[in-house]
């Protein structure tokens, strides 16, 4: 057991922290959020230029060879600053799927572009009926001469509105909700038949709904073996969960710090409200939730890049569950302890709160992971 970070990891953490601090003030974030892509392309480019977008990729593809721990360090800082860039969905999710399933040619081309941030990608897996179940895929891909035709609808694709390329899961065989017969396709959103409806999200990002109407893609747009994508999707979602936990921890740290500071400065009844014991205990509860979440995030980071196994899935489900619950508690109580101020748009706490509340709405909510855990739990 060793919880120490290496020299290199400390440097990475420091680089990310500094970059976020220098770029992400409240006003800047507002402007990024309202801009057309919904984030700062310049900042994304900076992350690329400094090598942060290549952190998780293998050295053979120009990457840093980073593991779950490196991802955790970067994501925690992005979460602390509530950064809007689709780093998680593009670099970790899409990049992970390409690393795991891609041909040499696909890896060489796409990982280089993702790593330098010249390409941003998104992953479209949810559907209106799927409720976080990756195997509940109704979007279809039918083999035609020279390629495939995709039809269907994908829900709430984070970063999809600005993505240069979208990875879409579609059914190429077997019946509804069968674990077999799911394939992944690289879809260029400029293609005929692709329609995107862009909208803002509760946590200040942008996303799109993706409609595919007989979209033709060539044979080389398939990622991995036809019909065999589900295990990789699940595995990569596990890596995303670990990264998302870290992002939430960064945000919770910021929210707790703001709240603690407020308890010490806000005066009511002639004293700082932090003198009221009920509020002290609540603040303690928030910190304990944060502490539990931090521990589970470390655990998740350490298993995220291990070989696929029931054990890995079990631990990641546990992390997601604990962190989702903690996130909601910190969001709710952070607002409550602030009183009216905590509810205002002009104050960063409310944005942390919204982000934390939405942690559970991606990659499965606490119920989803509670049920997953219960299935995998050892009884004897």
């Amino acid at each position: 057991m060793d919880f120490q970070l290496t020299e290199e990891q400390l440097m990475l953490q420091d680089t990310a922290a500094r970059l976020v601090r220098d770029t992400y003030g409240f006003e800047q974030r507002e402007a990024f959020s309202q801009s057309e892509p919904g984030f700062s392309r310049a900042f994304m480019q900076q992350l690329g230029d400094l090598g942060l977008c290549a952190v998780p990729f293998a050295e053979a593809y120009g990457g840093f060879g980073g593991s779950g721990v490196e991802n955790m360090l970067v994501m925690t800082e992005l979460g602390r600053g509530l950064c809007l860039e689709p780093y998680l969905h593009s670099v970790i999710f899409a990049g992970g799927l390409i690393s795991q399933l891609g041909t040499e040619a696909q890896k060489e081309r796409l990982l280089a572009q993702l790593g330098s941030a010249s390409l941003q990608m998104a992953v479209a897996v949810d559907e209106p009926q799927s409720h976080y179940q990756l195997h509940d895929v109704q979007t279809t891909a039918v083999a035609v001469t020279g390629g495939w035709k995709l039809s269907g609808r994908k829900s709430v694709v984070i970063g999809g509105q600005s993505a240069g390329l979208i990875l879409v899961s579609a059914r190429t065989g077997h019946g509804t909700r069968d674990e077999q017969g799911i394939s992944l396709f690289l879809v260029d959103p400029q293609h005929n038949g692709v329609r995107r409806r862009t909208f803002a999200t509760m946590d200040g990002r942008k996303a799109c709904e993706l409609y595919l109407d007989e979209v033709f893609v060539k044979c080389d747009a398939v990622l991995g073996s036809v019909g065999q994508a589900l295990p990789a999707l699940r595995y990569q979602q596990g890596r995303c969960i670990a990264a998302q936990c870290a992002e939430a921890v960064g945000s919770m740290e910021a929210a707790c710090a703001l709240t603690l500071d407020y308890l010490k400065t806000r005066q009511q009844f002639g004293q700082p409200i932090g003198k009221f014991q009920v509020l002290q205990h609540r603040m303690v509860d928030m910190r304990m939730e944060l502490d539990q979440a931090t521990s589970m995030t470390l655990l998740a980071a350490c298993v995220a890049d291990q070989e696929d196994s029931h054990e890995r899935s079990r631990l990641l489900a546990a992390a997601k569950f604990i962190v989702s619950r903690a996130s909601r508690f910190v969001a709710d109580q952070g607002i409550q302890l602030h009183g009216g101020i905590g509810l205002t748009w002009e104050y960063m706490l409310s944005h942390h709160a919204k982000h934390l509340l939405m942690v559970a709405r991606q990659f499965g909510d606490d119920d989803h992971h509670l049920q997953a855990y219960a299935k995998l739990m050892q009884v004897a």
Binding site: H131, T201, D367
Partner: protein, 397 residues
Amino acid sequence: MDIDFTADERAFREDVRGWLRDNLPSEFAERISQGKRLSKEHQVQWMRTLNRQGWLAPGWPVEFGGTGWNDVQKHIFDEECFAAGAPKVVSFGLKMVAPVIIKFGTAEQKARFLPRILTCDDWWCQGYSEPGAGSDLSSLKTRAVREGDHYVVNGQKTWTTYAHYADWMFCLVRTDPDARQQRGISFLLLDMKTPGITVRPIITLDGEHEVNEVFFDNVRVPVANLVGEENQGWTCAKYLLTHERTSIGGIAHNKALLSRLKRMSSEERRDGRPLIDDPLFRAQVAEVEMQLMAAEMSSLRTLSAVRDGGVPGAESSFLKIKGTEIRQAITWLISKAVGPYALPFIEDELGYGSEALLYTDYSSAATYQYLDARKASIYGGANEIQKNIIAKMILEL
């Protein structure tokens, strides 16, 4: 002991239900039952419809336009209104300032203000909270100095709901800076058009503009607009805080939210089956329904004690705490039920936009409603303050 409604009460419920069926515009009912925003015009339109029926002010004495209903009838009325999806009646005029004017106002004040509240010609707002005086309301600093027939008001209020709509504000001001905190406060009525008043919006985390900051710069208020005696404003303020009791637990609102939750989780799918059939989700809905049942019984117990001549004291703090907790639990499940569709924040769908819905009518406001419910444990006396009241008044700790 009899927990059933009487035959009269049941007949009353039928009357109310029938009238709502005939008079509530379906557009309003749809918006409300989907948790969407309602414009000022539509709110006024609905309140005027109620007024034409004589049902706008059930809490007022009959001679001023009340209905003469007892508290159980008022509860039934509330419940039917929420169930039908009727817009909430805006309380600042009807349920806050009016009872104070009726109890403490002069005959002129009654004649001048009450009819215009009923006809919705005056929209009221509540000027209590200040930047430095939230939970500790009696530390408020907005100053009113008497100059002849006027008070000259200087200072600032904050969190003032609907100040940007309001024609009038009822306001707590300090008239005696030397008296102990609660003593030197007076209850003033301010015409929002008076020179020297500036209203600035505060946008809340859900993107909504409802609350405001209000600044007073040498605002001249006629002494005739003082309610009660000078320096006795705290009595008015306290009366107002305990007056509104039938709807304090939000039972009717919560029931309507719960039935929406059930409807939507029957339509949502998980594993190809209705989400409500997922045992874990279903158990959570069941849990909140049982809590609501208990809160409703508590609320009815309090009501019937009042009907028999009791005064609801600190018990109303129970109802407030439970009511807001249950509302937060239900709206969280609503946000949970729609899965990733809790993420989109499409203001167009919350307001009066005409674009096609992204997903379903019930998903547009799913998370928005939860954020709105977070406000409820803060305003009207934060839940921590309610617990302090219970500890002190009931437990005598």
